[in-house]
Subunit: 218 residues, 2 copies
DNA sequence: TTTCGGTGACTGTACGTTCAGTCATTAACC
DNA sequence: GGTTAATGACTGAACGTACAGTCACCGAAA
């Protein structure tokens, strides 16, 4: 949904624009973002932005899709479907965390869609967004049960819902103000979460998932 | 932080105002809410609102506190501290769900604080808000371990973080557009979540928490 | 000279906040 | 009981700012 012009400009200019737009939306939120300020930061004129996109809303939706695509590529592009479900979950948390810490704004823009007053975006994207992950998790859970490494008395849909929920909570704790504070409080941390101390927390969450999924004895 | 005037008006008028304000903020979000429209809906004049509160921001913070207080009273006011941790968790999910379904907007306003562009609110409230629940959960987990009904190899802080995270996810799934759609997708439901079908989902989540906490054998 | 990306002053609207004044109720006094 | 003064909630037009979106024009390249 970008206009032709946006496809014609140099890759460098396009990347800078996407980066600055994502950053500004992440910082100020959708309503707080001023197209004039975006123009300044991205080093283009306001008029140019409207040569690139039809509207602010259109730009925001494009960024959501674009950033979701990036994180998906980072995670699923390097995931081996032959790994067992535990290894896959570990990979998702691991590469997901790395990606978010390097691209904090990406996840913040995505989480914007979950806010009140953003229903138009939520309705347009939630189903598409979640379906991919849901299907993948459910498939792997079913496989795990067949292999006997996941307890058979679990409701697959609900289990997938919960695992993905923990993932969302985890990345939100890395990227948005409120949840970062919450994480620090709960874990009684002295410093904010960062790429150095993250490994241990992530490992503990996965340990909890193990406890939830592993068959009672074995 | 309401002004004197707000305390002096009739209880009925005050309640109506709080109700309409919560409802409008929940529907449109903080930035989408127009003080003029609020005045119309609440049946007062624009000027009166500014006799009640210093500013829009001030009003929003008050509503957050007020609504958080309501849900806390509904949940913890009816919780017996002698129950074991599993019974307590069940009670929290149960009464929490009932309260949210009857007061959807309440939770939406609270969740607003987690959105980008709302940092000023997050920073002002996150610590206070989470501390209460965190302390309660950690205390009960420690007690449970002593009693031998919770596995002793769990990290208490992380476990509390996860349980409360599941609760947030659960109530978000009952109240905000994006997460309602997500829940429906994951659980392959034909209808949206409501007070009739909620019981079963809630029971399943608690089952998962049990699997995470119960000692391996016994 | 046609094409096309770029520009930024401009426009119209939306909205938070203010304020000068109104009006109903209560208090004070005779 | 009647008159007057004080109180304080209430009002909505008006103000100022912010900001999404437009447009008439520019300059370079082909």
């Amino acid at each position: 949904m970008p206009k032709e012009t946006f496809k014609n400009i140099s890759e460098e200019k396009r990347q800078r624009f996407i980066r600055e737009a994502t950053s500004l939306f992440a910082e100020k939120g959708y309503y707080g973002t001023d197209m004039g300020e975006l123009a300044r930061r991205a080093g283009v004129s306001k008029g140019s932005i409207y040569n690139y996109f039809d509207s602010k809303e259109d730009l925001f939706l494009y960024l959501s899709d674009y950033n979701l695509g990036l994180s998906r590529k980072a995670i699923y592009g390097t995931l081996d479907p032959d790994w067992d479900i535990y290894k896959q979950i570990e990979h998702i948390f691991q590469t997901g965390a790395e990606f978010i810490l390097d691209n904090q704004d990406t996840m913040v823009v995505y989480l914007s869609m979950t806010s009140p007053g953003m229903e138009q975006f939520a309705n347009a994207r939630a189903v598409i967004t979640e379906k991919f992950t849901a299907d993948h998790l459910k498939r792997e859970l079913a496989k795990g049960i067949e292999q006997g490494i996941v307890r058979a008395d679990l409701d697959i849909n609900m289990t997938a819902f919960i695992i993905n929920g923990l993932y969302i909570l985890f990345v939100a704790s890395l990227s948005t103000a409120y949840f970062r504070i919450r994480l620090k409080e709960y874990l009684e941390m002295d410093e904010e979460i960062n790429s150095d101390n993250i490994q241990q927390h992530q490992a503990k969450i996965i340990e909890h998932i193990h406890k939830m999924l592993r068959p009672p004895k074995g």
